[in-house]
Amino acid sequence: MPINVKSAGFATSIQDLGRPGYYHLGIPIGGAMDRFALRCANILVGNDEGAAGLECAFMGPELEFETDCVIAVTGAELPPKLDGEVQPTWTALPVKAGQVLTFDYLRAGARAYIAISGGIDVPEALGSRSTYAIGALGGIEGRPVQNGDALPIGKPATATAGRTIPDSLRRSIEAPAELRVVPGLYWHRITDTSGDRFFDETWKVAPEADRMGYRFAGGSPLDFVEREAPFGAGSDPSNITDACYPYGSIQVPSGAEPIILHRDAVSGGGYFMLGTVISADMDLIGQLPPNAEARFVRVNMQTALAARQQRADRLNAVRALFA
């Protein structure tokens, strides 16, 4: 028995943990921008951590349930309401057939994740149910969720109503958000002064911020080191011979506004990159709404690996709660 989408919200899409293995063909890994939040939502409702759920940007959908199930809402602080009654986030909520889920306004963060016991059971495309809208792949017919869709639900495993994840294990978002960056790639293209300034200044998330990439504004333009343009690169000082882009890499077209590539990244292109956001901070980017303040913090590999370990430890602590 499906879930009926009465209203899709703003940019609601079906996401799981993505489809690795096709980036060399320009098909990105995709999946939940905030991996930790999706995993937690699935753990709460007793699903595999990689089951498909809904990613909702800035506002929630209105969903009508045709079957009893358990749901959980994590990630952004977007309070769910069942038949109009406000419910806690980061908590397994029992839902009866016929009930309607709506949402209050966004209090903090940017993207909420809705997991449903049994998971959303659309067909897999290249091993994943994640919606990659640019390539019309995954989800429902390769597109975000629309009004009137019926979401097929898989078979639930165990009853888990009442599970909750304590505040201490949820990630808080500070202002300005601190995004840790390992300088590299084409870092040598900018002057030392410019590089220092990039890390000193406070930036703001620009309106062009989506699953492909996050643009930042408000800082100073970069100064480039003089060079003779390499053959094939193009004449702008920010051009390179088209190359692969790492997830989390920071490109700065014409030296003006940095763009961090995210889960639906373009796999390559002709702009220099000055470094890469560490894997532990990728989830956080997905929780920054437009105009949120952010600072870039210079770190080395050792710090990146330590942060990655801390992130893994926190997930393990959540797993241990319900093991």
Partner: protein
């Protein structure tokens, strides 16, 4: 050529074979990525060859970044001994140059262009020293092209012109990228041609459109049933200029499921190409046109 290695934080290693584009740089990148694949190093999750560089994505929980870096640098030596020879295919791609759809789009984004008073192809012809657009089309479609990268989005091929460097077409990208490009636009930026596999944003100049789909997520089109992406690095392409009637006919064949691209198996040797470009291209064309 000595490669430059850099970490892309804790999950990527980026390797630039050369700042400049060349087929030598492509072959070095290709043989290095082949060596990495053959080495079966645990922890590597993606191997992405590009024009003159490549990228490895890895799981640092399985292999320490420093250890993988050491391993990759060691493989650089193995790769340098590889012979630059490819068993590949040559494909004929029909192109309707100066089509109405890219024309409508380029007119909408004129204020983002270097030369708002001419079309993209008129501009490209002029700055490359061609008297007429017809001469430019002849140059663009005269010699074959080498697919030196697949990516950006959904199987988009970057193509490198197989002529002497002084004859290679070069065109800057738009001043500011467009928010729209028709699906299957034949584009140009830097020294690369491309085919936009899907509709979307883009910064390359727009010269025409092909009726031949190169990406089909539903895998309904006959020649895309085995895999949804048509191109792979190392493919060789020959553009075939067509008129509107031929274009409409191709589209009808694609829709009817009867369209078959002309594809022939060929061997490409970089040494042969470098010693005689025209003779190599003539041999490739002979293979393409053989029945």
């Amino acid at each position: 050529m000595t490669a430059r290695f850099s970490f892309g934080a804790d999950e990527h290693i980026f390797v630039e074979v050369s700042e400049d584009m060349s087929l030598e740089a492509f072959f070095t990148s290709l043989s290095m990525t082949n060596a990495v694949r053959d080495a079966n190093i645990p922890g590597i999750t993606e191997i992405c060859p590009a024009n003159a560089s490549f990228q490895i994505k890895f799981n640092p929980d399985q292999i320490h970044p420093d250890d993988l870096m050491t391993e990759l640098k060691r493989l650089e030596q193995t790769a340098q001994q590889a012979e630059p020879v490819l068993n590949t295919r040559i494909i004929e791609i029909p192109v309707l140059y100066q089509d109405p759809w890219t024309h409508e789009t380029l007119m909408r984004f004129r204020e983002r262009h270097q030369d708002p008073d001419s079309t993209d192809i008129e501009y490209a012809a002029r700055i490359n020293g061609y008297d007429t657009v017809a001469d430019f089309i002849e140059a663009h479609s005269g010699a074959p092209w080498f697919v030196s990268m697949v990516g950006f989005v959904s199987g988009l091929p970057f193509l490198y012109q197989m002529v002497d460097r002084d004859r290679q077409i070069q065109v800057p990208k738009y001043l500011r990228p467009r928010t729209d490009t028709p699906k299957l636009t034949v584009g140009y930026g830097g020294c690369f041609s491309c085919i936009y596999s899907v509709r979307g944003a883009g910064g390359y100049q727009m010269f025409g459109i092909t009726p031949m789909p190169i990406y089909d997520p539903e895998q309904k089109i006959g020649y895309l049933q085995d895999f949804m992406v048509f191109f792979r690095p190392g493919d060789i392409v020959k553009w075939k200029p067509i008129d509107r009637a031929e274009y409409d006919d191709c589209v009808a064949q694609v829709e009817a499921g009867t369209y078959q691209p002309r594809i022939r198996e060929v061997v490409f040797s970089l040494d042969e190409f470098n010693s005689d470009i025209d003779a190599t291209n003539a041999r490739l064309m002979e293979a393409l046109n053989a029945d």
